[in-house]
Amino acid sequence: MALALTLSSCDHLFQFNPNQVIFKDSEKNLTAKNLEKLRAIPVGDTLRFILMGDSQRWYDESADFVRSANRQQGISFVLHAGDISDFGLTQEFKWVNEIMTGLKFPYLTVIGNHDIVANGSAAYRKMYGALNYSFEYGDNKFIFIDTNSREYAFDGKVPDIAWLKSQLADNPGKKNAIVVAHVPPFDADFDKNLENAYTGALANDPNVRFSLYGHQHRFYDGEFYDDGVHYYLTNSMGGRGYLIITTWKGGQKVERIEF
């Protein structure tokens, strides 16, 4: 009986289904909680942050990433470019969050295709919050958008172009608009019928200079549409790479880090 009591203090002792969506209070609503932490950090004219992604089933490597990231200077926050989980399981989200809470900085996420599998979307909503969201920090407006079109059978609704346009339009301070998503628009998992509308929305906004992605598990960047918008892809945790992005009014610097 004493053993049973000791064991039951462990929160994962009894599991009812791989697709159960059960979180502790401290594991819920993390986007809002982490934004609150971020707002407490003062911001100057220049912002420095990390873009990493695709932690899916690479826990050992993700733990190494945290050690590497914590050694970087002047970082305000970490962006996870999606595919937090591999199987869309709540347990995987919990493990990655446990690793990421080892960071000295708050972290924010965008949903990846693997995070939508099975009950993944429900787990993501409960743990982080909305799939599409934005926030302003210093001279920047970050816009996170679900671009995992294949998961919705290319139904023409993902990514939500109307929402993206409204977010870009709602920028009276003309802050740097930085769109962050998992699947880049030139990938086969992005809805071909929405590619032009999406890249056009970015190109037609003078506040957009660059946009950030994961998914392809490689460093890759370029001005792929010859429209003044630079696209950056970060490596996966399995690929042991991430980007440090420094941005200011009128410019950005992007460094590739291997760990």
Binding site: F16, N17, N19, F154
Partner: protein
């Protein structure tokens, strides 16, 4: 319709057999040898159903119907499971108690829901995701304690069992991340009771 007929027939047979008396009675081959009720174990909050025992009393196979209420699972989930347990040793104790100190088993579960797939839809390229989300194979080890009783002149047995188990997706996560994950991270406990009609 056939399903309902079979169900009615089974219930009639059960009630008919309940009227038989005597310790040497033979039940029809298709009637289950036992019923189980299980708590947790990744096949429902509670699951239960009939099972069969091998002639040498070491291998039991169960068909369990499990339910996870929204309140405890964050999502209401219905699961059916086929499960086989091998318990090679039986040690008699006093007062018709016995223990089966070691069991090992495996299961295959199927969870119902439009968000789960057995075969990925055609808009995915072949092999895009390699696992099916509706089916989940798992394995476990455990043990039991039981007692033989005679109820209304019929031989019966009660068993309490525990199982420590995991399933494919957690196992592969562990194998590839032995630095961060511990075996206890991928293992969970289930408890159950078995009522046997020996």
């Amino acid at each position: 319709m056939q399903k309902y007929l079979l169900l009615i027939f089974t219930i009639l047979s059960l009630s008919a057999s309940a009227q038989e008396v005597g310790l040497t009675r033979h039940r029809k081959w298709y009637l289950p040898d036992h019923l189980k009720l299980q708590f947790a174990g990744n096949i429902g909050f509670l699951s239960g159903g009939p099972g069969y025992m091998s002639r040498n009393q070491t291998l039991e196979t169960d068909l369990l119907f499990g339910f996870l209420p929204q309140k405890f699972g964050g999502d209401a989930l219905v699961t059916t499971t086929l499960k086989t347990t091998y318990s090679p040793w039986r040690i008699p104790l006093r007062n018709s108690y016995y223990i089966r100190p070691f069991s090992i088993g495996a299961y295959l579960s199927y969870t119902f829901g439009p968000q789960f797939d057995t075969k990925w839809p055609s808009y995915y390229p072949a092999g895009y995701y390699w696992w099916a989300t509706a089916f989940r194979p798992g394995a476990y080890i455990g043990g039991k304690i039981g007692r033989n009783v005679v109820m209304n002149n019929r031989k019966r047995s009660f068993e309490l069992f525990y199982e420590l188990g995991t399933y494919d997706l957690l196992l592969i996560s562990y194998v590839q991340n032995t630095g961060y994950l511990k075996l206890s991270d991928i293992t969970s406990l289930s408890l159950g009771v078995k009522f046997g009609f020996d």
